[in-house]
């Protein structure tokens, strides 16, 4: 008999199982959302080590608060809101300010491929990072979170602002990036 494809459990189901003490469900939620959490923290802090600490703080805080998650927003939006708060707190604690350009990350997809191609890619990453670093945090966050698949309304929920402000911040961010990355 051919194997039957079992659909992956959705977040709501995993959250219920995690609440009931299923650690494997929690591991799945972590694997599923770590990329978005780390990337968001990195875009706020601009520092790899600080972003890793903030990502860990965010997941531990989420586990502490899991019983209070009502499901009004999606789990991803709720988790990213916790991430934004964790990263902002971490930035305040460390006195970091995102005025300086983002650090360039060594690990990049394809960096072990053709050296010439890798160099071109590194230049492109540098250009993108430099442009993003010039945006105010709210605009950078609006663009970053939209690229995580969040709607404007979800961005507003994650960043504790109104939907209208999130929408305008995104448009301002895109407009400025277009000029900076020409």
């Amino acid at each position: 008999m051919a194997p039957v494809d079992v659909p992956a459990p959705d977040d709501a189901e995993l959250v219920e199982r995690a609440r009931a003490g299923d650690r494997e469900a929690l591991n799945l939620l972590l694997s599923r959302h770590l990329d978005a959490v780390y990337h968001t923290a990195y875009r706020i802090l601009g520092d790899r080590d600080a972003a890793q600490d903030a990502a860990q703080d965010a997941f531990v805080s989420a586990v502490r608060a899991l019983d209070g998650f009502r499901g009004d927003a999606s789990f991803r939006t709720w988790l990213l809101r916790i991430t934004v708060n964790a990263a902002r707190s971490s930035g305040r604690r460390a006195g970091r300010r995102r005025e300086a350009p983002l650090e360039l990350v060594g690990e990049r997809p394809g960096s072990e491929a053709d050296p010439a191609e890798a160099a071109v890619q590194a230049d492109e990453v540098e250009r993108v990072e430099a442009a993003l670093a010039q945006l105010p945090e709210k605009q950078r966050l609006s663009v970053t979170l939209r690229l995580q698949g969040l709607s404007h309304r979800e961005v507003a929920e994650a960043t504790d602002t109104s939907e209208g402000s999130a929408r305008v911040n995104y448009h301002l961010g895109i407009k400025r990036l277009r000029e900076l990355m020409q």
């Binding site: 650690r23 972590l30 997941f59 586990v63 502490r64 492109e124 993108v128 939209r146 709607s151 309304r153």
Partner: protein, 180 residues
Amino acid sequence: MSNEHVGHELDEHLERELLPGYAAGLLDTVRAAEVDAHVAGCDACAAELRLLRRLAAARAVVPAGLEGRIREAVHQELDARETRRPAPEIRLGRPRRPWAWVLSPWTGAVAATLIAVVAGTLALYDGNDADDLDTTAVVAMETATPYGTLPGADGELAGMATLDDLSEAQLEELLGELQR
């Protein structure tokens, strides 16, 4: 404006809403094909998509070992919670009388409050009719989509051009008003 035109605009706005998710490879194949078809005939969206793809390609990569480290921290938190959790309470002594709540001094106060709330609600209901409905709420419900309530759909605020048509100064001014 005809319904067909409004429908076309709404489709276009929804497809534009999907551009970031499309650039990040998060859309299913059906949605992706719809966006493809739209972008093929829309220079503004094509330009925005090119920019979004460059941004998506420059994502920070999760460092090796981070997932394991966070998993360990999370499991430590769960262990700590389990040891903090109090043992189930065991009642000793004679059983409580099931009717004891009737004699509680709170019962009278709760009953009086309930009566006042019901009476107040009935009085308010008498003074209302269908014409008093909050039209703002109705409009908001009508414009709600699976992607969120769109104020005149993507980037378009009532009575204004799309956000794309505004200068940075105008956008900043609008943002200031929204945050006021």
